[in-house]
């Protein structure tokens, strides 16, 4: 009973935030119907969200075949549901990793907004390693490429960590700069150094045997299993090891950590590298699914990781659930775009709205008169407090 109550206290604010975001989003969709259709379509949000849900889970709420007036009718097409769920899992896997890349940083009082750059570098190093070992047996090739991606990302997380530890450069600014830097330099490297002749667009060589094996469905790849394995490992690391305790201590109170004999510098560098490792692995999964690194590789999974981490309360299990939620939205968005004629970018708006309501959680709590745990990880206060404070 107390367990249930605990789960409720933890999840009520995220759930209310999601509902409120969907409500505000539906107003936006109604307003949008003026731009795409002829008149104000009050039913458009239902059509949109229904196709979103169907694209993400295969559950259909509206029976379109019956007569002229669509009627409410729950139906599940098993084959379709399997396909939809696989799409959701495939979309969620990298999001969970970028969510960890932000969430684990939160635990140490660090705000890693460098997920985008770490994804790019991780994906790029995975593509290069993958191309180099393309002829090796599958297990060897896949492992080497994934490890290369993780290490590439870790290196790119190490840089802002070391900068913060030794010079005091705040990671909020330095990681954003590193994002732009990686985007520019990798485009140049792909175009001038690693481009292969043949394809109509600039890209690196095929990763061959390093491509992630498909385990089920059309796109249920090994990446999903990797992520499922990483969640318990991260949980164990954070809550059952000395290192995890030190990371959380430095996040809660850097000075207390120092007085207790821990080294905040070392912990900051280590945590940022670990964050980069997760994001790099996310990039590796994306690229090893695609099979090559295209010169123009726009990815939003790095930024989406912030929403995942906050929605998941910076806890591995929460991040897994939040990643599934946002992954579902991404998997369902294309079918929503087709059915309701709404630009796919609505997903980004919904993500932002969810975050807005999470940030204003106190308002939600007062309005609804609910008792709930504070959703913002307390370690986050450290990020704001140490802003501009200089060296640790």
């Amino acid at each position: 009973m107390t367990n249930m109550r605990r789960i409720w206290a933890l999840s009520v604010i995220p759930i209310v935030s999601i509902i409120l975001a969907l409500l505000v989003g539906s107003l936006l969709i109604i307003a949008s119907s003026l731009a795409t259709g002829d008149s104000l379509n009050l039913l458009l949000p239902f059509v949109a969200y229904e196709s979103l849900l169907e694209g993400a889970t295969g559950l259909s709420l509206i029976d379109l075949n019956a007569a002229d007036v669509p009627s409410l009718a729950l139906s599940v097409d098993v084959e379709r549901a399997a396909r939809a769920v696989t799409n959701t899992l495939a979309a969620a896997a990298p999001l969970v990793l970028t969510g960890l890349a932000v969430g684990v940083g939160f635990k140490a009082g660090l705000f890693n907004i460098g997920g985008t750059g770490q994804v790019l570098v991780g994906g790029f190093t995975a593509a290069l390693m993958g191309a180099a070992v393309a002829e090796q047996p599958v297990p060897v090739a896949v492992t080497l490429a994934l490890v290369a991606g993780a290490l590439g990302g870790a290196f790119y997380g190490f840089i802002p960590g070391a900068l913060k530890a030794f010079t005091g450069a705040h990671e909020v600014v330095s990681t954003i700069m590193l994002n732009s830097l990686a985007a520019f330099i990798i485009v140049g490297l792909v175009n001038d150094v690693f481009k292969i002749t043949g394809p109509t667009f600039a890209r690196t060589a095929d990763v061959g045997n390093a491509a992630l094996p498909i385990l089920f469905g059309r796109n249920g790849s090994l990446g999903i299993l990797v992520v499922l394995a990483i969640i318990p490992i991260t949980y164990f690391l954070l809550f059952r090891t000395t290192l995890g305790f030190e990371i959380r201590t430095v996040g809660a109170n850097p000075s207390a950590a120092r007085y207790a004999g821990m080294s905040p510098r070392w912990l900051i560098i280590l945590t940022m590298s670990l964050c980069g490792l997760f994001a790099g692995l996310a990039g590796a999964i994306e690229i090893l699914t695609l099979g090559y690194y295209p010169a123009v590789f726009g990815t939003s999974i790095g930024f989406a990781g912030i929403t995942v981490a906050l929605l998941g309360r910076a806890h591995p299990i929460g991040i897994l659930l939040a990643g599934l939620m946002l992954g579902g939205m991404r998997a369902g968005a294309p079918s929503m775009q087709i059915t309701a004629n709404i630009p796919i970018e609505i997903i980004d708006v919904l993500q932002g709205l969810i975050l807005l309501f999470l940030a204003a959680e106190i308002v939600i709590r007062r309005l609804l008169r609910i008792r709930a745990d504070r959703i913002t990880p307390s370690e986050l206060g450290t990020v704001a407090r140490t802003y501009g404070e200089g060296t640790v």
Binding site: T167, I306, D348, L356, A359, G388, E389
Partner: protein, 361 residues
């Protein structure tokens, strides 16, 4: 001279310095630097206003982007409703002026959201800024795709100072830098100086700094901390709004998704570089964007001599890497400078800490 230029390594440096002097005095390098530094400097003014009052604002990027979109759309609609010939000075049209005002309004509105979240809701200030960045990117991207704007209200023109002035030997480039630019760019210098004076020489400035350093003490002597913070954060939105207007009404004449390109974050670095002073931040903005302007100058007008041969050699073998490295320069320089100065640069003491009046809950 040629003898000096032939010295290994040092010769290269000397050639580069000669090229720099030549580029500054004879080409558009100086006005271009000021132009590119404009959104950074304006964003930094917004940052100074916020952080001097004790509020971290990492949402400047989102404020700029929202303002750029709103300003662009409003100007376009007004332009379609009342097409007017641009005025002789700056190419002003009613559409552009209303667009700028709309951009400023949008900047203030988003700032008001930040103020509410940080001050009243006492949400985490870093999260509030992040929320603003993510919503701004999502919403402008969504609306841009939905509306697919086809027209444009055009752009503001640079001022054309008399030729005798800008062609003066030795000092002509200074006039070119500050006069041969658009109105928003030109206003930056004035705004920076005004803000510097206000912040350090006025009653408002003293109160603002007090609220940023020690809100409790400020409160005890009768300063309304909450109100002053609200006012400053919202007024700071004017600068972010103006930076947005620069993006779509002066520098470009279209809106592209995510076009603020992390300028709001470079502005934060400029604030730190300038030790939370308007003039210092302006210096930071000039420094960071000089690298971008120089990159443009080198690519369009390569240096002569060995240095030029060396650079065009790289360009011939690695054209894309060459271009992209120049594109990345301001970001790289920002990291290096941030790492170099920040340890000795101290933020206002109350930055990032919500203020709770004693006895209140």
């Amino acid at each position: 001279m040629d003898l000096l230029f032939d010295i290994p390594v040092l010769g290269f440096v000397l050639q580069f310095i000669a090229y720099l002097i030549d580029a500054i005095t004879t080409t558009n390098l100086a006005p271009q630097t000021l132009q590119l530094a404009t959104p950074i400097a304006l964003g930094a003014l917004c940052g100074v206003m916020n952080e001097r009052s004790g509020i971290v604002n990492i949402g400047i990027e989102g404020m700029m982007l929202t303002a750029a979109f709103v300003g662009f759309m409003v100007a376009m609609v007004v332009h379609e409703a009342i097409p007017t010939e641009p005025a002789a000075i700056f190419g002003f049209t009613p559409a552009l002026i209303i667009g700028i005002l709309a951009a400023i309004g949008a900047g203030m509105l988003v700032s008001a959201l930040h103020a509410w979240l940080c001050i009243s809701v006492r949400a985490d200030q870093i999260i509030s800024g992040t929320v603003i960045n993510i919503i701004a990117l999502g919403l402008t991207g969504y609306l841009n795709r939905l509306i697919k704007p086809a027209g444009s209200a055009g752009t503001l023109d640079p001022f054309r100072p008399p030729a005798e002035l800008v062609d003066l030997p030795i000092v002509g480039w200074i006039f070119r830098m500050f006069l041969a630019v658009g109105p928003i760019t030109m206003s930056v210098i004035v705004l920076v100086i005004v803000m510097q004076v206000l912040l350090f020489r006025s009653r408002w400035g003293l109160r603002t700094r007090a609220v940023g350093e020690h809100p409790r003490a400020a409160d005890t002597v009768g300063i309304d901390v909450i109100r002053l913070r609200y006012r400053n954060v919202i007024l700071g939105g004017i600068f972010a709004g103006l930076a947005g207007a620069w993006l779509t009404l002066e520098f470009n004449q279209s809106f592209q998704n995510g076009m603020s390109a992390n300028r709001g974050f470079i502005a934060l670095a400029a604030v730190i570089f300038g030790r939370w002073t308007p003039i210092g931040a302006f210096g930071g903005a000039l420094l960071f964007m000089f690298s971008e302007a120089l990159g443009i100058a080198i690519r369009s007008n390569p240096p002569p001599g060995d240095l030029g041969v060396f650079l065009s050699g790289i360009q011939a073998s690695f054209p894309s890497l060459y271009n992209n490295t120049f594109g990345a320069l301001p970001y790289l320089l920002t990291i290096i400078v941030l790492a170099g100065v920040v340890g000795r640069s101290v933020a206002p003491a109350a930055v990032g800490k919500p203020y709770v009046k004693e006895g209140a809950t």
